[in-house]
Amino acid sequence: MDYFFVLMLAGMSAAMVAGGLAFSFLIAPHRPGAIKNSPYECGEPPIGQAWVQFNVGYYLFGLLFLVFDVEAAFLYPWAVAFHGLGFMAFLEMGIFLLVLILGLAYAWKKGALEWV
């Protein structure tokens, strides 16, 4: 039941968005034209496709983020259970972190964290 409020929140926010869209669809006048349908770009006429090829740097950052995201997911239960665990658990987590810090050091030294 703890999650009942999460569900309610999700339902209400979905309803608000859907309601807003539906309401504006219902009451707004529909008079489309070529200029009205073009994307609004701060008053500038849009040029070319909206599609741009991303820099590979985004991918590398995303990858590093993901790895440390997973690490955080492992840290969390350790932190929650910390008081009941002994010194060995601390040591084990130290080894785990050491290996990943090695990965971070690698990425840093090799310049994967620099924006090119």
């Binding site: 599609w51 090829q53 983020f65 350790w78 932190a79 259970a81 785990f96 290996v99 990425a107 994967a112």
Partner: protein, 208 residues
């Protein structure tokens, strides 16, 4: 009564949404739409985890899958030249065979799952505060612990970092000397026939 009924309703709602969104993932012509639908599928399964009282798993699902992997997929999509999938139409026979295989697999798994009693964790103990329990199990080096896979995972993550950087980097790092194709001075006198053909093959592939 109402609680259990609403539980059932929500479960089927989440499950149906997950199935529909999965269909959207495989049927979308635009990769980005498929990625967003995938995000939906993963969120729905997070919801299912919540209903199973696996709140930590649900959190990890949202944190890692929805927030990390899908973002990475979107970046990978944006790295491509175009988000439109090539309009390749597989032969009808292949489509039919694929459909038959998928349906047979579905029938087999559903049939098996309906006929077999699975051990449900509810029969054992109420897993209320399971995050603490996971933490204890994960770092327990005794008989019931999982410290070995835990440490192996750190190695796996390290390899993921290194491998990802090696494969995905665009720029050649300074001073990697062995990236020439043998076209430096003094290497020109010996060019075996195979490399040239191979090189031409490559050029053809690039042109395609």
């Amino acid at each position: 009564m109402i609680a259990s009924a609403s539980y059932t309703v929500i479960f089927y709602l989440l499950a149906a949404l997950a199935v529909l969104l999965s269909l959207a993932v495989v049927n979308a012509w635009k990769l980005l739409r498929a990625a967003i639908a995938l995000m939906g599928v993963l969120s729905m399964s997070a919801g299912l985890y919540v209903m199973l009282d696996a709140s930590f798993l649900a959190g990890v699902q949202v944190l890692v899958y929805v927030g990390g992997i899908v973002v990475l997929i979107v970046f990978a999509v944006m790295l491509t030249r175009s988000a439109e999938l090539l309009q390749d139409n597989p032969a009808p026979l292949r489509k039919i065979l694929g459909a038959i295989a998928s349906l047979a697999f579905l029938a087999a798994t559903v049939g098996v799952f309906r006929s077999s009693p699975f051990l449900l964790s509810a029969e054992k103990a109420p897993l209320r505060d399971n995050t603490t329990l996971i933490g204890e199990k994960l770092l327990d080096y005794g008989a019931g612990g999982y410290v070995l896979p835990f440490e192996i995972i750190s190695l796996l993550l390290l390899i993921a970092i290194i491998g990802g950087i090696v494969v995905a980097r665009k720029t050649e790092p300074q001073g990697q000397p062995f990236t020439t194709g043998g076209d430096e001075a003094g290497e020109a006198e010996f060019r075996p026939p195979f490399t040239q053909e191979e090189h031409e093959d490559e050029l053809e592939l690039v042109e395609k």
